[in-house]
């Protein structure tokens, strides 16, 4: 709309009709992308009486009751804390372990690197359902069932291929002279990684960390299977098993949905450019 003078690619119309057409298409796309979430936002502030009738689309007065109930009287806050702990530790573990492995793959001589990388890719394609029952039995044997450790560790491992893949490509972009210079100066490879490579690869690390965090925050099947009580459930599990005695409390559910989405949607909006870098690097190199 802002560049009407330019020969647009929708060509063939007068400038005003073209702008109008563009506006309509954009509006449709916007409604498609944002509509469902906006409707959830409207629902979350509707008084209970307005939930069971349509019209009106918009309520005459908004209420904060659903948020109050969800945040003060339900285990949602606990599950948000759990999700935060799980996602943060999964991110830390997979970035630390992943950057070691990625560095070895990017800079050190190892036999069969393509095989290893292909293998990493293959692991990321494992259907979670294929490993879930032995994993469940294993965690039960280790006494880790229904603990955050079990969920965090599992998330870290299943995010590891993504982290390794991304970081390998980021490390390869750094000039290898930097590494050799550090080696000549007497650094061990580990020290060269920590003091030279990692500080330079900070943007790449941030991208990988962001994607792992979002993956872990949103993951459902492992979290559902490995937890069994309110004190360990993560946020998506809490939303999926939202308690409804006779009827689904749609207003509360809407409020809970938005609260759970807020952290990741915020991250995505703030770091949208980095996420795109990660998604394209992670897959185009695939």
């Amino acid at each position: 709309m802002c560049d009407m003078e330019k020969p647009g690619r929708l060509g063939g119309f007068g400038p005003f009709r073209r702008a109008g057409l563009r506006f309509c298409i954009l509006l449709a796309v916007g409604l498609f992308c944002l509509g469902p979430v906006l409707w959830q936002a409207v629902t979350s502030v509707k008084p209970d009486v307005d939930l069971v009738r349509l019209p009106p689309i918009l309520p005459e007065r908004a209420t904060g009751l659903h948020y109050e109930r969800v945040l003060l009287e339900s285990p949602l806050v606990q599950s948000l804390v759990n999700s935060m702990v799980v996602a943060a530790s999964a991110t830390a573990v997979s970035i630390i372990v992943g950057s070691f492995c990625a560095f070895a793959l990017a800079r050190l001589p190892m036999a069969g690197k393509p095989v290893i990388l292909g293998f990493v890719l293959a692991t990321s394609m494992f259907p979670p359902i294929a490993v879930i029952s032995p994993l469940y039995l294993l965690m039960r044997e280790l006494g880790l069932r229904d603990t955050l450790v079990a969920v965090g560790l599992t998330h870290a491992v299943y995010a590891l291929p993504l982290a390794v893949w991304l970081l390998t490509s980021f490390f390869r972009q750094l000039p290898s002279e930097l590494y050799y210079a550090a080696r000549v100066d007497g650094c061990t490879p580990l020290r060269a990684l920590v003091t030279v490579i990692l500080p330079l690869a900070r943007p790449g690390l941030a991208v990988a960390a962001l994607l792992v965090f979002i993956f872990s925050w949103n993951e459902f099947m492992f979290a559902l299977t490995l937890t069994a009580s309110d004190s360990t459930r993560t946020a998506p599990v809490a939303v999926a098993l939202f308690p409804g005695l006779y009827e689904i409390p749609w207003g509360d559910l809407a409020a809970a949905s938005l609260v759970v989405t807020l952290p990741v949607a915020g991250l995505a909006a703030l770091f949208q450019r980095h996420i795109m870098t990660g998604l394209t690097a992670g897959s185009v190199k695939g």
């Binding site: 069971v52 032995p134 994993l135 580990l190 995505a268 394209t280």
Partner: protein
């Protein structure tokens, strides 16, 4: 950034004397151990379990060889789940690719010659991608709600339908309702990848084609599509893998109902494992899914290699 500290000649003993190659294996080891322990060992264990009849509640645990797989072959519910999964995958991946392409072209045209789309447009598009799948299932369950759901209301007002439809309880509609939700959630991923591809097409090619009198369709067909082929294949691979494994989206939206009409392979396996606690048979199901995914992905890898080689 701190410069590497110069430590003079290196004279440490033991571990630090490792060769470069040795360091490589040492640094890669933690990742291998974790993946081996929590991904490879479970896969092997699942294979092993699938050769057993194991029902913990009855204390049954016996080796039965390929019996579970023979059962699987004659299990109608398994074949129905296969059909549902493939139908879901085919429909949603096709729609995502086409819509994603449209969206990417639209965003690209918004920016004219600049190499970045407006930030607000990208944020808007990335939002559905960031929404947790479980949340998106709940969002759509509310939209589909028969009496107070927005969808029925809008369609009634517009005169498209003349009676409320219970989308999730109708055997014909339910799977399509799940597809629409999946398309909403994942089209942004496709669009963003394709957009990145569009940005990398040199503008001079279009200009040259225009000089030669090529129309918009010809420019798309002869320039955009061939250059974007690698990305199209990648989108296909990633989306197909995710759709074949689909669990949370459909599980939360319909629970596999009504009457198992939306039961995908993962949901069937999950129910067998954790609701009826048949660990042996469930593992055979899970192994079958693994084989299907592996077969599909190796097929794609072959495709991908040819396309990547052509584009390089």
């Amino acid at each position: 950034m701190t410069p590497p500290r110069f430590t003079g000649t290196e004279g440490p003993t033991g571990l630090l004397r490792l060769s470069e190659r040795g360091w490589g294996y040492l640094l890669a080891a933690p990742a291998f151990v974790l993946v081996g322990l929590l991904a490879l060992a479970p896969i092997m264990a699942a294979l092993w379990l699938s050769l057993h009849r194991r029902l913990p509640i009855f204390g049954v645990d016996e080796f039965v060889g390929a019996w579970n797989y023979l059962q699987l072959w004659s299990d109608d519910r398994f074949w129905a789940a296969c059909r549902t999964t493939l139908y879901f995958t085919g429909l949603s991946v096709t729609a995502e690719l086409l819509l994603g392409f449209g969206l990417a072209i639209l965003l690209d045209s918004l920016t004219g010659g600049r190499d970045r789309s407006p930030r607000w447009a990208q944020v808007m598009i990335i939002l559905p991608w960031a929404v947790p799948t479980v949340v998106s299932a709940q969002i759509w369950a509310w939209l589909y709600q028969p009496e107070y759901g927005l969808l029925n209301y809008l369609l009634l007002q517009a005169g498209v339908i003349d009676a409320r439809i219970d989308w999730l309880a109708d055997p014909d509609w339910a799977i399509h309702a799940a597809v629409v939700m999946d398309v909403w959630k994942t089209t942004p991923f496709a669009a963003l990848l394709l957009l990145a591809g569009l940005k990398s097409v040199p503008q001079e090619l279009y200009a040259a084609a225009r000089v030669d009198g090529a129309g918009a369709w010809q420019r798309f067909r002869r320039i955009t599509l061939p250059l974007l082929m690698p990305i199209v294949v990648i989108v296909l691979v990633f989306r197909t893998m995710d759709a074949v494994r689909v669990f949370d989206a459909v599980f939360v939206l319909t629970g596999g109902g009504p009457g198992n009409t939306t039961e995908t392979l993962s949901i069937y396996a999950y129910k067998t494992l954790f609701q009826t606690l048949q660990f042996g048979y469930g593992s055979a199901l899970a192994t079958a899914i693994f084989v299907i995914v592996a077969a599909l992905s190796s097929l794609y890898v072959l495709l991908l290699r040819r396309h990547l080689r052509e584009s390089l």
